[in-house]
């Protein structure tokens, strides 16, 4: 019996030794050199593989960083400047400063504001609906409400509001990876500059129809009346396609445009409530504040 035991031990040890030698030999022979900095950069990245940088995953981005001459086109939106400074520290290069961004939803066609004209009954997917027809309302530009953007979000920064049928962005969680922008078949979601205290002013409508028609479809549509354009002191507002657009780079958050908008299409979010100074304007702003109030609570 002992000899059997002995034989087993010896033969197995020998076998293991031979296998180890073979493995060692092949590992040496077929070694692929990889820049160790890639691993270091990858460790510094958030590791969410969200694709916000334009690369399929964090590893690919790290490779690109190591290869790149300058960091002009490379930016990790999730990590923001901090991470890019770390990465540039590892690689000894200069990181370009970028402003943090945040997503906003440019449609306020809730059940209340936008009358439903028919009922969609098919696969619950925005792109399918978009390719088929205008959606449950007459507005051919507005949110379809099937939540493809919410499904695309990897950071739990969005949810569908049951009451309005619209997606809502949770500012704290949003990393501006752009997945929702890509997912939306109607390009409703925009990435805008993140201001302090997450304050936002934007036109919450992208309907390009003429004023009257747009108003008929949705009570809070931008009619392209140019009132905000005229009142803006900073040239931040441009008009085009019967729409006003506020450039988030130029906007100084003065809130003048919000007050003049006749349809409450311009939203101000996360601002302190206004002091009641000008009585005639209070009424007009109420609607907008209500909306902003609703969104800030989330």
């Amino acid at each position: 019996m002992n000899s059997v035991l002995l034989f087993t031990i010896i033969s197995l040890s020998l076998l293991g030794l031979v296998a180890a030698l073979i493995l060692y030999f092949f590992a040496q022979k077929f070694k692929v050199y990889e820049d160790p900095r890639i691993d270091q950069v990858e460790d510094a990245l958030p590791g969410a593989n969200c694709g916000g940088c334009g690369f399929p995953g964090c590893r690919n981005f790290a490779e690109a960083c190591v290869k790149a001459e300058t960091f002009d086109d490379l930016n990790c939106p999730v990590g923001g400047n901090e991470v890019m400074v770390t990465v540039s520290g590892i690689l000894g290069k200069e990181a370009g400063e970028t402003d943090p961004l945040v997503a906003v939803i440019r449609c306020n066609g809730s059940f209340e504001n936008r009358p439903r004209t028919n009922v969609y009954d098919g696969a619950q997917n925005c792109t399918i609906v978009h390719n088929l027809y205008t959606g449950d309302t007459d507005c051919p530009f507005g949110c379809l409400g099937h939540g493809e953007c919410v499904d695309a979000c990897n950071f739990e920064a969005m949810y569908m509001d049951e009451k309005t049928g619209l997606p809502v962005i949770i500012d704290e969680n949003c990393v501006a990876c752009g997945a929702c922008v890509e997912a939306c078949p109607r390009d409703i979601i925009e990435l805008r500059k993140r201001n302090k205290k997450d304050r936002k002013i934007f036109v919450s409508c992208i309907n390009e129809d003429k004023g009257g028609i747009a108003k008929k479809y949705c009570s809070v549509a931008c009619t392209g009346c140019t009132k905000c354009f005229k009142v803006c002191d900073y040239d931040a507002i441009t008009m085009g396609n019967n729409l006003a657009f506020i450039d988030s780079e130029k906007c100084k958050l003065c809130r003048k445009c919000v007050v003049v908008c006749p349809t409450n299409a311009i939203h101000e979010i996360n601002f302190p409530p206004r002091r009641v100074k000008e009585e005639e304007k209070v009424e007009e702003t109420e609607g907008a504040e209500e909306i902003s109030g609703k969104k800030t609570t989330n």
Binding site: R116, T117, N118, V119, Y120, D121, G122, A123, I128, L132, Y133
Partner: protein
Amino acid sequence: MNKLITVSPSPHMHSGQSTSKLMTHVLIALIPAFAASVWLFGWSSIIVVSVAVSSCLIFEFLIQKFLLKKETSISDGSAAVTGALLAFSLPASTPIGMVMIGSLVAIGIGKMSFGGLGNNPFNPALVGRVFLFISFPVQMTSWPIPKGFETSLVDAITAPTPLEIVKEGMRISENMSSVVSNLPSNMEVFCGKMGGSLGEIAACTILAGFLYLLITRVISWHIPVSILTTVAVFTGIMWLIDPTANANPGFHLLSGGLLLGSIFMATDYVTSPMTHKGMIIFGVGIGLITVIIRRFGAYPEGIQFAILIMNAFVPLINSYLKPKRFGEMINE
């Protein structure tokens, strides 16, 4: 118009077919076999079948409601089919507790752990059956003698299945001709006058169910026919080579769980291939493995293992065997 009209992508018609209707058809097809089992085993058959069906339904409901916390789907009838098939593959004398354990394994492990209906790689009823078969070998291989409502479950008077007779006979190297003399005749096998699981022994009733499933187009002929043909051809060849060591193909076709397995279990939608070509390969595989286990393996019956083994190959078959595309032949 004051009411909102509906808009949806085409097609705007539906055949009216539904999962629960298909499952109901399967249950209807099992009725003849159930009736035969009541005639053969009496109350014990009714008890085993009703316990299996109801416990499958209850376990599915409980797991979906409390463990997975999602909508329950017992109304689709698939759990009832699983329960019925599980009961049919058990001996009529199986204790109630054992039936319930089998149902729990079938639904809990065989189906729900993979994500419920449509996601299970293995036939749940067979998972339950094989679990019981391996865990309780004694109870699972003691077959009461069919005596109708007088079948005694207390006295351990059991009859071996024909396959067991053959296996045992070959083990003690008897000559086949002497073994055959112990066997019930083909006609008796056809009508269920032998030992065996409660639902699988009356071949004629299972064939009646097969006919019903074919007429209602619930299943296609491909899987059952390819299994049975393979078994017949394979055992036929062996029988021709050496009739003294092998049973004849007719006996192989009619005995054991082959018919129930090939018609009701192998054709389970979820665990069988999607294309006709794939179905035939699946069937041939089951047939071969069954015969190999019966003839050379340790167990007298092999259909349940054969189906489970081939179930594992289904994803592979599905990804390699594509239906013939329209316009393909000219392209290549």
